[in-house]
């Protein structure tokens, strides 16, 4: 019994944790800069392909590739904060338009260079771990472990470090934070860099345990926004719950219901939440 269920549990957890990474990145940008970065999904996709180039095309070591990917995408995050988002902090319409422009550029670039082919990254590890009767794929466990480590590290960083505290302060009240001497621009830039880096890393990890395809941007974007809605604006802690719920739905849903139905149910649920409790379950009052 356990040997049948265990791999599924690992799948759910792993999927959830990857969503979590991506969603956390999105939430960081949203909370600190009050900007809904629609391009987050596209950045995640680009991360996956960049990782592919480092790993498969250039032949770097897998771990190095993942690290480089995170770095490259984080730098990209710095760039877009400075030139795309900073000018439009107060104008939510224009910020959305800017994000849309980014999506169009990134998605089209991907469509043109990679095209409709589906690529996969090799597994990080091919071994299979056996614990008693239970056979688990090592790479999934490792990915899960990486995600959990990162999430814990991030949580500690945000709660304990001065920079993290600054981010929380800005998320609550940007002006008040500025008055306290916090350099809002620099912290925003850092938040954006971290957010994008996380997206890029998530893309790379997904590439190694699942597949890379140009449609993955939209798929993850919907899931990310759903997670953030469940969690609530400004809440970084509530994202855990949201990601878990969605990961579960995503991994288990297809077993019980045809894919399209579970999709629509999930979406309907999100809409219901938006209508009944737009501020989410853990976020600040609107």
């Amino acid at each position: 019994m356990i040997s049948e269920v265990a791999p599924h549990i690992v799948n759910v957890l792993m999927l959830s944790s990857i969503y979590l990474l991506a969603a956390l990145g999105f939430a960081l940008v949203f909370s600190v800069m009050r900007i809904m970065n629609f391009a987050h999904g596209a950045i995640y996709m680009v991360g996956g392909y960049v990782c592919y180039y480092f790993w498969v095309v250039f032949g770097f070591n897998p771990w190095v590739s993942l690290a480089l990917t995170t770095l490259v995408i984080a730098l990209f995050g710095l760039f877009i904060e400075r030139f795309c988002f900073r000018p439009f902090q107060l104008d939510f319409e224009k910020a959305i338009v800017m994000a849309i422009a980014l999506v169009i550029i990134l998605q089209t670039a991907a469509n043109l260079t990679v095209g409709p082919t589906v690529k996969g990254l090799p597994s990080l590890l091919t071994a299979v771990i056996g614990v008693g009767d239970v056979m688990l794929k090592a790479d999934r466990v490792v990915v899960l472990a990486i995600c959990i480590l990162l999430l814990v590290a991030l949580t500690i960083f945000i709660q304990k470090s001065k920079v993290g505290q600054s981010m929380l302060a800005i998320a609550q009240d940007r002006d008040a934070a500025a008055l306290q001497g916090i350099n809002t621009n620099r912290i925003s830039a850092l938040a954006c860099a971290m957010g994008c880096g996380l997206a890029g890393l998530a893309g790379g990890l997904v590439g190694s345990v699942l597949v890379l395809h140009v449609g993955m941007a939209n798929v993850i974007l919907v899931k990310i926004i759903a997670v953030v809605i469940i969690a609530g604006i400004g809440s970084i802690g509530g994202i855990w719950a949201g990601a878990l719920i969605l990961g579960a739905l995503g991994a288990l849903g297809p077993y019980f219901l045809p894919a399209a139905v579970s999709d629509s149910l999930g979406l309907g649920l999100i809409i219901l939440i938006l209508v009944i409790r737009p501020q989410g379950f853990f976020g600040q009052e609107v």
């Binding site: 998605q107 939209n218 399209a260």
Partner: protein
């Protein structure tokens, strides 16, 4: 000062130029090949879609799922025509009504949401409608799309052009009249201050639902018309990206004036087709235009004539003051 009757002097000049334009538009197909006519039909359709999006926008709601309503209209009309054999002319109207009812139903819960939450909810709605279409493949053929939709006319494109031309002109007329009437003012009032509006008896949710109903109705009819023209529709035609593109056309054209969405639709739909072999790069161009507009021309393309006029005037003033001093 107050206009008495319909035919004051200033009006005649304006009416003459509109009449001239309409005559030109009517004669155009004689000079256009089949491909250009198809293009013109697309432009006309997008004018309707973008303008109807703007009607929703002026009530303070930025909808990121407008294409879903286009899809509801298209699919309703197509399914009724195919499964029940009803005439497309009737089913188109029903498609519009279906989209309108959907808009009203959505409006009940959504019209109480603040701006950004409404946008998010509309985003999800758009995606959900696409997913729902796929859930009933017996009805809608799912992701593969619906084929062999009964045509409105025969095979030549000209009648379709005239049909869309009339539809566009009627839509624009109605939307224009609504916007510049008491109803339109009510919508705009609610967008500016729901407190002030409530204090003078205007129900915010009723106004917003009305805006949704109007906008979705025309979106649905245009979608249905398209279905019976192209004879093939698929869920991806009405998904997230099409909704986003509609929004882009509106914002680039300019949200402040009635002509904004018209200009936006014309310019941004035609550009990819003018790029010929470089069609694949069209989205880059689009994104570029987007970026230029939001940085340099925030009120949209439609504000360019005024801005150039005042820019020229300022230049002139500076030159005059220099020569005086």
């Amino acid at each position: 000062m107050r206009r008495r009757g319909f035919f004051a002097k200033r009006e005649i000049g304006k009416m003459a130029s509109y009449a001239g334009l309409i005559i030109l538009l009517c004669l155009a197909p004689l000079f256009m090949g089949s491909y250009l006519i198809h293009l013109a039909i697309l432009v006309l359709m997008y004018i309707i879609l973008t303008s109807s999006l703007r009607t929703i926008y002026i009530s303070g709601q930025l909808s990121l799922g407008h294409a879903a309503f286009v899809g509801i209209g298209a699919y309703t009309s197509a399914i009724l025509a195919i499964r029940l054999g009803w005439t497309p002319w009737g089913t188109m109207l029903l498609g519009g009504l279906a989209a309108m009812i959907a808009g009203i139903l959505i409006g009940f819960p959504f019209s109480r949401l603040r701006a950004i939450y409404f946008s998010m909810a509309s985003l999800f709605l758009g995606i959900m409608v696409t997913a729902l279409i796929a859930v009933f493949p017996k009805l809608t053929e799912g992701y593969t799309g619906l084929m062999n939709i009964p045509r409105l006319f025969g095979f030549p494109k000209e009648p379709y052009y005239y049909f869309f031309l009339v539809l566009t002109l009627v839509t624009l007329f109605i939307l224009y009249r609504i916007e510049h009437s008491r109803v339109g003012m009510t919508l705009k009032a609610v967008a500016q201050s729901h407190l002030a509006a409530s204090s003078i008896g205007i129900s915010e949710s009723r106004a917003r639902i009305l805006a949704l109903a109007i906008g979705c109705f025309f979106a649905g009819i245009a979608g249905a018309g398209y279905a019976h023209y192209s004879t093939f529709i698929a869920p991806t035609d009405f998904a997230l990206m099409p909704s986003i593109y509609l929004l882009v056309y509106l914002l680039v054209g300019g949200t402040g004036s009635f002509a904004g969405p018209v200009v936006g639709a014309i310019v941004l739909v035609l550009i990819p087709y003018m790029m010929g072999g470089f069609r694949g790069f069209a989205p880059f161009f689009l994104a570029g235009v987007l970026i230029i507009v939001i940085f340099l021309i925030p009120q949209g393309i439609v504000s360019l004539p005024n801005r150039t006029k005042s820019w020229i005037r300022k230049l002139h003033e500076r030159r005059v003051s220099k020569s005086v001093s």
